[in-house]
């Protein structure tokens, strides 16, 4: 019977051609439409942006002033030391909204709607990730601006500082792909919200984020050294603080080669970003197709 498309009435075939053009151009425009929709939602939920920004700023102030005193003796510029950490932390929280957003869309039936339309199969996920990238960029920029008010500077130069921002956004986007998978996998927005913190906290704290790795207990050092957050924080610190970072690590009895460390951290981070992106894009697409 009518299994071949040639047997179909012309009317149906011309509709198919009009509605589903296919190709890269369509993929780009579909992604842009979904991304635009997400951003529009974001703009219309000002509370999310306001508190999403206030929260990391608050963290930054708390960490710098609470820990600054104790840590100051070991790390003379703890405030600067902590800034990249708080940036990573804030982009992680922002990325978790990717999962919550997708779970919401699943619950409301929007994903079904999108999946029943002749759009590119990756557009919903890509659109989500892109809009999260924009959000992460805005939040991280605001955070850095606030940081300058409490004395944070880019001793290695503003260009390096901007590079740090770029690194933050790319890392954040890869995390948002991971969170997207969590959202599609767990399906319930509230569960996603809670579940996201399970991996986030150990990754943030058992890293070089708040204290140098070699001050952690031995077993935790092993974890901290492979932790992607260590790679992210070290790379961002290296870019933001440059040689000043070296002063920090150059404690007696330790030979710290700053540029070698930055080099290895950035490779380490690049590997993590590639791995997270690859694995969780694959898993998310698979989950998206079968939800």
């Amino acid at each position: 019977m009518a299994t071949t498309t040639t047997a179909l009435p012309d009317e149906v075939m011309s509709l198919v051609r009009q509605r589903s053009k296919g190709g890269l151009l369509q993929a780009v425009s579909d992604t842009a439409l979904v991304c635009g929709r997400n951003l529009r939602k974001l703009v219309r939920t000002p509370g999310l942006i306001v508190f999403g920004t206030i929260q990391p700023v608050m963290m930054l102030l708390l960490f710098s002033f609470v820990f600054g005193g104790v840590a100051g003796s070991t790390i003379p510029f703890y405030k600067s030391f902590i800034v990249p950490t708080v940036v990573v932390q804030s982009l992680t929280f922002a990325a978790s909204s990717s999962g919550v957003g997708l779970a919401n869309d699943l619950e409301s039936g929007m994903i079904d709607r999108f999946r029943s339309l002749p759009i590119n199969r990756a557009a919903v996920l890509l659109g989500r990730t892109l809009s999260d990238g924009v959000r992460i960029f805005l939040q991280a920029s605001l955070l850095l601006i606030v940081a300058t008010f409490i004395g944070f500077r880019f001793p290695a130069g503003v260009d390096r500082g901007l590079l740090m921002l770029v690194v933050a956004v790319i890392f954040g986007v890869s995390l948002s792909i991971f969170m997207a998978w969590m959202g599609l996998w767990l399906k319930d927005p509230e569960t996603v919200q809670v579940a996201a913190f399970v991996p986030i906290f150990p990754l943030i704290f058992a890293s070089s984020g708040f204290a140098p790795v070699n001050t952690l207990p031995g077993w935790m050092q092993e974890f901290a050294r492979v932790n992607p957050f260590t790679a992210a924080v070290d790379t961002m610190r290296g870019l933001a603080l440059g040689n000043h970072y070296q002063r920090l690590a150059n404690r007696p009895g330790e030979n710290f080669n700053f540029s070698a460390h930055l080099g290895s951290s950035s490779w380490h981070l690049a590997a993590w970003i590639a791995a997270i992106t690859l694995v969780f894009t694959t898993l998310s697409v698979r989950e998206y197709r079968k939800v």
Binding site: M1, A2, T3, T5, A7, L8, P9, E11, V12, L15, V16, Q18, R19, S20, K21, G22, Q26, S29, D30, L33, R37, R40, K41, R44, T45, S108, G109, M110, D112, R113, F114, R115, S116, L117, P118, I119, K290
Partner: protein
Amino acid sequence: MGGHDRAPPPAAAPAVTAAVLAEGLTKHFGAVHAVKGIDFEVDEGSIVGLLGPNGAGKTTTIRMLTTLLAPTAGRATVAGLDVVKEAQAVRAVIGLTGQYAAVDETLTGRENIILCARLVHLNRAEAAAKAEELLERFGLVDAADRLLKTYSGGMRRRLDLAASLVGTPVVLFLDEPTTGLDPRSRLALWDVIEGLKASGTTIVLTTQYLEEADRLAERISVIDDGRIIAEGTADQLKTRVGGDMLALVVADRSRTSVAAELLSQRFDVHGTDLHVVGDLGTVTLPVSGGAQSLVEAVRVLDAAGVTLADIALRRTSLDDVFLALTGHSTDDAVPVASRTARRKRRGPDTTDNAA
């Protein structure tokens, strides 16, 4: 509604214009067999209802036909396009309105429609024009530029339906389009769906409301436990169950059994078809002969001195059909013709359409 067209269905035409065709469509979720081999065919321009209780497999079937779910076995085509092999092409020719209004809360009504229109690849101007046209048609012009947060349930459903029409689909799938709506919104939505029917769109709708299937669908497939257990027009299904139901309430409950005995003899109705609830004084039985049987019953009971609190003749509704076929209700009035169906309703051979 109703009518007295009890003619047999026209002989199945050769499948040249089957808008939807399913053959042995099956879906297993692990050990759960949600859909167990469904066959059906929808003619172009017609409107077909899938009627069944919650968990019968209606939504799973719709999800397979709309490419959202891959079948475990069997095949299906929509407008001649295979739902698995030509999924993207199928998406280009269908519209889907799911069980919940799939609309974006933080967008306005117009933005929702424009988004969908752009996603079926209308250009900016076409999308704007389409939105205007659909908002007009669904009576949403005044609310068009308000955020959806301010919409009522009925408005959301109408918008949802409008959004599924942006691509001028050849086949429209409506999954429980009025579930959860108040009666007034339901009536309004029915009018809209009837309008679509008039414009020649092929429609497949699922519902658990018999009234809805009766009113909207030309043909009804009754689905239960993953199988189609009966198929036909509303009238054909009603005929299968039998004639009318006579229901009465005896004034003096102690005389219920007397009344039941008299009616049983007079109308030759016995066993489970004669439904008696002594505590309530009710007797229900199937009768043929319409209004005359009511007169007859009154005469017989009056002669025996049984006084009645209430008596009514009820035309068989699809509810009766449904209960008779699925047996899901505990032990309500189940009329004559279903006696055999009832007994073997759980067996694998309850399928009435030759599959």
